[in-house]
Subunit: 681 residues, 3 copies
């Protein structure tokens, strides 16, 4: 089922994150005035302020936020109110230590940080519900409030749960899921290593054991359980807020973290999804690993967020140098980068950009997550840049609500994703291929969407894409094969990589010729397979005289009758065997590549299918410039983003209107260092 | 005392590991038929199947294995039955958590993996004895059964024990060993850092303390205690099985793991020793360290196993790509490698080769330890290779029971071995020297045996070797010096390296001129010593104009009267001092090298003594081909093993019969990539 | 307040560390005779010998040390007696486990090592006081005893404390410090992430939480608390000893470890401070990181020790190869190095050099910390070297009590130091700048002193230095600014680096233009700042045509009126902005560098101020030779230390008397490999 969103911004909107509890009240009015002056119309507040409302158990006090929200009304500032459950008060965890999450060893995470609670303790659920009820009943009707953020960054930093409450809940989850221990033993393959469970009490969340000697089927269910726990906790809060919120106000949460089915959460619980965007991590000066394409790599995340919610917002957009006091050192964003990253967000589909945060906090873990203002509270170059950005943003109002243009689709699903948490073979393929498909799309200006595939996916969701990559659908079932078949039959091209279809949905391997259930689609037969060896010459295949990279792992393919061999391995002991096959299925076709994907073989496949560089007729831009299009009501808006510290020269092959200025441009155009341009074409 | 074995195979035998509990019963008969067709005559079963026999505490059920064993009789398949104690049932560890082993921090290893129990908990000993009694009394008389495997891989993965049961047992062990606390305090040197124990209750297995601030004498005893605990646990099972087993059936266990006196265990408890051989670890594609000579490095392990039991078996011989789901990624064995590794086992003395495993498991931690068959159950290239291998193996029946031919001996003992667990100086010498001696032997085609030296070793065990290396006998006592002296006096050549003889058997340093008790043999005096420094030029010595490497550490030697200086240091502050001395002792001699051993100085020493390249008159083979000889009743069988992906050219200097075909060969002969040849010469 | 010491040696004194409890009594007399023969007149004993005096709780026995001390009187050996509290007896920690320190996870450190106790358990305080009372009352009057060492190496190895006793004490410390929870909440910035404390029971020493999500203000107080705890524990012992000690005998402790205000401890509790010096760590052969300048890097530590106590002693001076049995492998000191390192100590201000240790211990963790003698007890090259060193040392008697000559000063304070424990930004600047200032001083022969700055520092302490570096006074307050101002006004030159003055003493950031309270002194304004990026060209500044390095971090400076710009950034987005400013303040001036310090920019600054190479008129020595001067009563003593394995050629520009021989030297002079020379000039 495709995600629909029940809330959308109707004009480009700029915001910031503000913490009234961090500052002397004397600063409030001036802060709001200065925000308004820059163009900020919406602020998020309250998401770490439990103690301001419930300073001791069961005693509630509203004076603080009453005063602040009334001031917001006076100043014309709109407010997104955050529920405060990410940071329980000291009195709470001291009195009820069972609410604490634990590490894998069973040692609690204590007070002093954030996200140290677990979703499953009954008392925490009760106390959370009560504070949300108090806040929502009081402030949802308030005229300043326009939306609600649930908790803060669910599953951020800590996405695994090992408390006693979690074991208790997992036991119930397992019983609900399997009904009988026989069914559970079968699903978890407990005949292996004598793991058979004979009483429900023997079930726990994963505990330390023989290092690495883990049950992958149990782990897979564990991650499903974690996701379900987080969503149930989110639902509990959403249900309360929905009772009180004004019509037109929205419920959201921020961030997209691991071990969480963000698609389901957004679809079932949220009106709109928001994201926290920090591309400056790519420029860290400590031992950070620098990603491919540096800050531009965040486009991968934005593509994933767009899959959750096409017209998302940015709750936290990086506004300054960032780090915790204890780790993650990075330079200040260079002049232009803050606007570049914000415009990158808009290009990818966001119509709301809220900067983190108004003023750099003078205390605590995040004294180095710099806001728009520094500690000294003076206007600075970032304020100046933001004013300029705001002008550009408002010039993009026609783009609000426009759709991102994708040349192809990438299929992803949570089952395969979570399987890679514990399966090191699977992880090695999937991470590599998804990364390489991303890089190929970027450097070839061939944008893509991610489509989340599930048992109830419909062919209507897939049909818009002429081609779909599903790199390594290791786990697959009949329902998903059926929708893939329907997609192909109506004319689509499906491309699969190595190791497809050798597991069922429990993560157990199927006793069928590979690619298992997918074989009827691929018309291919995996007769042998191997990792490629670092000791040997890289393996490649010959595709009509072209060299086709076949890295990491090789399925040695045999075509079934009616299947065409496009490329054959050129070396190693399986030289001559099929490496890439194609099978027509009704109006469409299925390609089966025996290896992982690389940026080069993806380029060749996109060219073969004819979807490479869809904007080549509109603009000629260097590889280092991102080219993105949004379209609405027949109007097309072309975003050009320059991530480099040098100006970039592009050529518009058709005339376009530069939205920032209204100026008509054709032919050569220069985008400044870290600069952007948006043309209507 | 030299290890004798009470069981030997009387013909070359091929087997596999089979898990009836993993598969639908419908597959059993066909599986057995297919095995027989390939040449497999023996299978191992049952070693992780406790729950199949005791599904709840005290309730025993035999229907499952009755049915399977009866089928084996029908199909003519012989069975090695494994006791199931490596993986206790979930009900057991849930009810009796005291049976769990703990990590050094005292945190238990929980259910879900294997080997998470400890040897010392009384209840686990009781429950283990009961399940073994039940199995042995039922199945030892069964006509299908030919042997028993105790537990699985004792001390594998986890070879240290820190549970309360272990502390309790260690306290008793210490009291048995020392009788009084005064004696213990003396042996453990507790005057240092005020460690003096004044009550037995103060004794524990090692617990976390000041990092690195460990008592090495206590640790040394701890490892002796671990070994004793494992052997006592093995004995408990062996005693039970021996009551029931048929005459001619054997008791074994598999694997050779750390902190365990395998020699004593084999001699006292087992009829024959078996090993699990996985040379493909050398080709891992993750962060595996690649050993010297890659897969050929496993020859070092096989030499060690042969020391435990000259005519051992292979219980698990690698049959496919291998890894756990969570780690250890490796390519599939290349065509030929599976046979190569199996033939390497035979060359080193094995007359039984059982492949791990019949079919790749479709569930659990080991879905990537590939068996002969893949998940899809189809015949594949490995089945074909195995059929070919079986023909070759049966052509080697004359070799069954033949002895491995060694040109020299290497002395090893457990006390020095375990001392290196905690002594980082000692570890640095010993690991380096043993590795280099191995490499020198391999690349110079000069095979060796390992001789385990102990207080009751006899000169008869040593006398067959013209030369013995004892690289760094740091711990030594009068009994061992006496047997070394007897060996030398009857004509042997003993070669010692740096740091010999400076500790007693408690690991305390002796207040004698070094090499301590060995000085009467070496006739040398260590007047100064030092690590060589990475900042300085490598130190070397001059040996009659030849450069002799003296790496890692240097004892600066002074010859006593009657001792000859063979080589003197050529640089550093001790240039001119003796680096290598030789002393005649009756009919033999003792060489004392002031440094560690290197592949180059070992080659020089072997040449000096005249044992280098014993097969040079038979065959001319490149360094990359392994040359191994087994001999029996005056017949000599020459194994040539090619580990490389290219064919290797060798020259037979005397005619030989290629056993695989019966063909007569002389002069040039080509061994294919990953190929082998066995000639009778 | 400058540290005064109440004890000074009145002649050059040589000692060693001796452990009578490690050796047969039969060795004692001969050992003492041999020591005397070498020149050793003082030994330290007893610091790990609790059980020798209190073998069981409350039973005291003195026969052992009575006998030994009487022998010392007989042999004319002076004794420093160590209290034994670093290693509690086994019976103590077994009976009272609450005395054990714990790691951050709360897991105890157990018996077997050392320093596994905590300072705050009441029972440990009680039992420590009792053993010290027993020892001091018995032995302080003893004629052999000349001084007392408290405990051993307070805070060594383990400098953090996480036991329950520590939490209990920290709670009281916090209450004493802040009086109210409101004040504590304000100081700790608990409004951030809802950390507000509402009961004292919620206060603990740091516990594990969200990884890295730490409260830096709480941590800063925690380190203050650790220091206070150690000093209070030291005071408890000093108070007892002072009751009994003979007039003229001294109280000391050894070592200078982290999280401890050594200046306050020395000033308030000790008569003299001693240090343990192991430069051979620099030559480790394992994975040790090799410091700048290798063993010569220990000059940095010696400079720090001199700051604590100008005429310190060396309680442990490296005498041989060193390591624990479990880690830290190093070669033997090369001939000459032992003397070189000892003379380096004397050059830096020590008048007492006690070698660690008499004879290498034959048991326990430290069998590889080699003493003067080896296990074999024979005279060796180190004994010979020591005899030679003793002659040289006694020739330096005129130097005893002489002052070290410093060309400039470096300001340090504990608040900033401890802030870097948790603040990774701050750590990155401060460690880099202090290291580079040290290296610049060494290679340019421009010695410096470290001055500990505190709230009660006086201008008299600072005035002797023409120039003071205070690289990154991130935390600063009015009191410290006042003394800096007074220093400058009377004519001093103060040099500050980037990131000055942006925090208050709680570690909270100040809402003022940077450099905050220091702005009135610097006359500069930080308008922007950033880490330099590894992706960009290194940033540098132009200083009148000279290139000035500005590494790691850049404050972009704006001069206030009256401030002169000395250098401006030459590249990056702030090219042209001020990088180095100078402001006259009364008779002095303040320089503000926008970056960290580098060895090259420090050299340029020292040259600009005119203090570079103060001995250039006396001696011409290569960079690799250390040049140090001590002076007393108008006499000047020039130490030249050659750390290299080759002889070094120097030129005396004025005639000098070589103290070792009395010979007059002028012009060329050669210092042998690892050699030293001391001239009176």
């Amino acid at each position: 089922m495709k995600n629909k969103q029940s809330y959308q911004w109707n004009e480009m909107t700029m915001g910031t994150c503000y913490y009234p509890e961090h500052w002397d009240k004397a600063l409030w009015a001036r802060d709001l005035d200065r925000m308004k002056e820059i163009g900020i119309s919406t602020i998020r507040i309250g998401e770490f302020a439990w103690s301001k409302i419930e300073p001791e158990e069961g005693r509630f006090t509203f004076a603080f936020f009453d005063e602040f929200l009334d001031l917001c009304v006076e100043k014309g500032m709109k407010v997104i109110f955050g529920t405060p459950t990410a940071t329980p008060p000291a009195w709470l965890t001291e009195k009820y230590p069972e609410v604490l999450n634990c590490n894998h060893d069973g040692r609690p995470y204590y007070h002093g940080g954030r996200r140290h609670y677990n979703y499953n303790s009954l008392i925490y659920q009760h106390l959370s519900a009560r504070i949300v009820e108090q806040e929502a009943s009081r402030y949802a009707p308030h005229p300043a409030v326009v939306g609600w953020q649930i908790d803060n960054e669910l599953n951020c930093e800590i996405g695994e749960f090992y408390s006693k409450a979690d074991s208790d809940a997992f036991r119930l989850w397992a019983r609900d899921t399997y009904d009988t221990l026989d069914a559970l033993n079968e699903a978890w393959g407990t005949a292996f290593w004598n793991q058979t469970y004979t009483a429900w009490d023997q079930i726990y969340v994963p505990r330390p054991g023989n290092p690495g000697g883990v049950n992958p089927h149990m782990y897979l269910d564990y991650y499903r359980f974690i996701s379900d726990s987080a969503i149930r906790y989110c639902k509990m809060q959403a249900d309360i807020i929905r009772k009180y919120k004004k019509p037109g106000d929205f419920i959201t949460t921020n961030g997209k973290f691991r071990n969480l089915d963000n698609h389901r959460m957004a679809r079932e619980q949220l009106d709109v999804f928001t994201y926290d965007n920090y591309p400056n991590f790519a420029h860290g000066v400590d031992d950070t690993v620098r990603p491919n394409l540096l800050d531009r790599h965040w486009a991968k995340n934005l593509t994933e967020v767009r899959s959750v919610c096409p017209h998302f917002g940015f709750m936290e957009q990086q506004a300054g140098a960032g780090s915790w006091v204890s780790r993650m050192l990075a330079p200040s964003p260079r002049p232009g980068q803050m606007s570049l990253w914000a415009m990158m967000s808009v290009a990818h589909g966001s119509d709301f950009v809220s900067f983190f945060r108004w003023r750099t906090c003078v205390m605590g873990t995040e004294i180095y997550w710099h806001g728009i203002l520094d500690y000294d509270d003076r206007d600075n170059r970032r304020v100046a840049e933001l004013k300029d950005f705001y002008k550009k943003l408002k010039a993009l109002d026609p783009v609000c609500g426009a759709e991102y243009t994708a040349a192809f689709g990438l299929l992803k699903d949570y089952d395969n994703d979570w399987d890679t948490n514990v399966d090191s073979w699977h992880r090695r393929f999937l991470e590599h291929s998804e990364e390489e498909i991303f890089v190929a799309a970027e450097v070839n200006h061939t944008p893509y969407n991610i489509i989340n595939i599930r048992d109830d996916s419909s062919v209507e969701e897939l049909a818009p894409y002429p081609v779909l990559f599903y790199p390594h659908p290791t786990l697959i079932n009949e329902a998903r094969v059926a929708v893939l078949r329907a997609y192909v039959e109506q004319g689509g091209t499906l491309i699969l990589g190595c190791r497809s279809g050798y597991k069922d949905m429990t993560g157990r391997c199927v006793m069928m010729p590979q690619p298992g259930l997918l074989q009827a689609l691929t018309g291919s037969n995996v007769t042998d397979f191997t990792f490629t060896s670092p000791e040997e010459e890289p393996v490649w295949a010959d595709w009509d005289g072209q060299k086709l990279e076949t890295p990491i792992f090789n399925d040695i393919l045999t075509p079934l009758e009616g299947t065409r061999v496009l490329a054959s391995y050129a070396n190693n002991y399986y030289a001559g065997a099929a490496a890439l096959t194609e099978r027509r299925v009704d109006k469409g076709r299925v390609l089966h590549l025996g290896s992982t994907f690389s940026r080069e073989n993806v380029r060749q496949l996109l060219a073969y299918i004819g979807v490479l560089e869809p904007f080549a007729g509109l603009v000629d831009a260097p590889e280092t410039v991102d080219v993105i299009q949004r379209e609405k009501d027949g109007r097309r808006f072309l975003f050009l983003l320059n991530y480099l510290p040098q100006a970039a020269e592009i050529t518009l092959k058709q005339p376009g209107i530069l939205l920032y200025t209204g100026e008509r441009v054709e032919g050569s155009y220069s985008i400044p260092a870290y600069g952007t341009a948006v043309f209507e074409v």
